[in-house]
């Protein structure tokens, strides 16, 4: 069995990330950002990835990283979820980094680890782990085709594009990129197009993409845990201080019981997210099962938490000028990202020998 607890180093790391995000990305700032054209918060990302070193946690020291593991990176993902922070951590520091590490690439991965460049996997963000169908054709070292709905596609310096014979790196400047008005404006999509774009093959075969998606899905569960925790904390704080009929609404039993159920679901989400991160860190053979369970479960928990957050805030939770909708949009988008719960349950069925009818 994997270790499902947080170690001392992880707790310290969490504290540091939380302080940094609280200082540089309070939710009012995040909210203001969603209406700007900026595809992400570059200042925040430089602080978090570059100076703090959060982007290179799972990268070996010899490649320019911190030499920790996906367990520690998962703690960062939690805090990013809790802060609904608009940074390309999942896409660049997890998915692209995991793909490049699997490919044995050693140049770009160092840049990513230091936050100097941003790379993203050019797949539609709803793609489940496994082998995504190649959407581009390769001819003479150049790519042609379209990939819609790429997360953080506008923030990226490099696009990592799956093709039939492997994974290609394309300079973002050589690709067409159209911003997408996204349900979750804290992690925006872009439609990308390649018209004979010069490309460098960084991996043969499908293994690298697979690693990127699987590791991404594993750590997305931790982000979802953080979203859920943020929602629960905000909601509990609200119901303690919001009075109706002369009593704090948190004294009404129906709300209390729903919050207790939510808390219970979150304790489970914490356990499954930890297990998935630990499996990713250790290359545990249980990884695929752990990821499918974590995505099926944490997706639902984060959405439920955000929906309860809106509802229990009442009218104020339905307004633009409150943080609840930032959680809701990110939670719902994250549930679809890297495969819906439905897709993950279907994948799980094959893994645990429970074949469909």
């Amino acid at each position: 069995m994997t270790d499902l607890l947080y170690g001392e180093i992880e707790s310290d790391l969490r504290g540091g990330v939380r302080d940094l995000l609280a200082g540089k990305a309070p939710w009012t700032g995040v909210l203001a950002g969603v209406e700007k054209d900026d595809p992400f918060d570059a200042d925040l990302w430089h602080a978090l990835a570059g100076r703090f070193g959060a982007a290179g946690l799972a990268v070996p020291e010899e490649l320019g990283g911190a030499g920790a593991s996906w367990r520690e990176a998962a703690v960062v993902a939690e805090e990013i979820g809790r802060a609904v922070a608009p940074v390309p951590f999942l896409t660049s520091a997890v998915m692209a980094t995991a793909a490049l590490l699997a490919a044995g690439e050693s140049d770009l991965v160092g840049d990513l680890a230091e936050g100097e460049r941003i790379a993203v996997l050019a797949v539609p963000f709803g793609t489940p782990p496994g082998e995504p169908p190649a959407r581009v054709r390769v001819a003479g070292g150049a790519l042609t085709g379209e990939v819609p709905g790429v997360a953080d596609g506008l923030a990226a310096d490099v696009l990592l594009v799956p093709a039939a014979d492997g994974l290609y790196a394309v300079d973002a400047a050589d690709a067409g990129r159209a911003p997408v008005t996204s349900l979750d404006m804290t992690r925006r999509l872009a439609d990308t197009a390649f018209d004979g774009a010069p490309a460098r093959r960084v991996a043969d075969g499908p293994g690298a993409v697979r690693a990127g998606l699987l590791t991404g899905a594993a750590l997305l569960a931790s982000e979802q845990l953080g979203i859920a925790e943020g929602c629960l904390d905000a909601t509990v704080a609200h119901v303690k201080t919001r009075y109706q009929f002369g009593r704090p609404i948190g004294s009404y039993q129906a709300l209390k019981h729903r919050l207790a159920d939510l808390w219970t679901a979150i304790t489970q989400a914490r356990a499954v997210a930890r297990h998935a991160a630990a499996c990713a860190a250790a290359g545990d053979p249980d990884l695929e099962i752990a990821v499918a369970v974590a995505q099926a479960h944490c997706s639902a928990v984060a959405v439920k938490a955000a929906e309860e957050c809106v509802q229990m805030h009442g009218g104020i939770g339905f307004t633009w000028e409150h943080s609840a909708h930032l959680y809701l949009k990110r939670a719902k988008s994250a549930a679809i990202a890297l495969g819906t719960p439905d897709r993950h349950r279907a994948a799980l069925a094959a893994l645990v020998d429970l074949p469909p009818a």
Binding site: V34, G315, T319, H325, I336, D342
Partner: protein
Amino acid sequence: MSTAPPDADELSRRVAAFLAEHDPAATDRLKFLRARFDAGLAWVHYPRGLGGCDAPRALQRDVDRLFAKAGAPTNRPERNGIGLGMAAPTLLAAGTDEQRARFLRPLWTGEDIWCQLFSEPGAGSDLAALGTRAVRDGDRWIVNGQKVWTSMAHEARWGLLVTRTDPDVPKHRGMTYFVLDMTAPGVEVRPLRQLTGEAEFNEVFLTDVEIPDAHRLGEVGDGWRVSTHTLMNERVSIGGAAVPRESGMIGVVAGLWRDRPELRTPGLHGELMRLWVEVEAARLAGERLRQSLAAGRPGPEGSGTKLAFAKLNQEVSGLELEMLGTDGLRYDDWTMRRPSEVDFTRRSPGYRYLRAKGNSIEGGTSEILRGIIAERVLGLPGEIRVDKDVPWKDLPK
């Protein structure tokens, strides 16, 4: 004119006579509507002199049909739902003769749009906790406070306003009800943006607003009782219409399923069918309620229908996004728009998902509705009240 209320035949004779005198094609729209009001053919169940002729309410539909058949202009009821649905019955029940005479005609003709100024930031489900203060100053009142969730405030001429006039008595006893002139100095209307990006509603800030005592509705301190007239009529207006199978959001998702075979998975199919059955069950329950009302047997099922559809709209729209996968991650427009009506089906799936979240909050939260069902229908004990005998000013807020 006879003194007995007219029956169906008599009413159709009157409509015919009216139409003979006022050719819809040749008469100015407003002139026509005012004349129809004065002829007692506006809302036929209202008293004579106030747009009606004391006829049974059930005959209204026939009268409207006759006018429609003749190509008569309507009073555009969709633009003045609060006026027609809530202000009018409240004026009828609690207004003085002068107030009814002054307000009801332009209300019915659509010249005056009305809005409702009840909710406050600190008084949502607990309306009687409201704190907007009205202080008497001779034959006028000076009002200060803030109201929220006011639809149509930016277009309304008059507002239904409930205020706190006596903070020293328990909350239900110290309220007074007014008609507010929305053009009066000190009335500031600001759009209230919601999580969809748009602003259907407003906040209304009241700063030293003067209201003449002649615009008070009901006695001083009687505001809670007058409010119940308004709110009772709010509830009646919800969930009454017959809807065909696969209406609304489930129709959108069912259409998506039929049109886009590539999106189908066994798991989504199970969820779709589960929701389809639930929506159909809720629809039939709504239809049964409609039949009960038509048979003159009003039931308490309306709260259940609202409760069920709020939940189902949320679940169905959530399923739609999952069905769409990456396409479900897109939105149509975050700019702040001021829609005149909510149309779930014409906007993007993301909009439907977000807007549906309001269904369990607006017009009575699902929590309040469950409490109403538990207490009024099932007869379970009420919540323990700690605010009953406490002066409003001493309540925790």
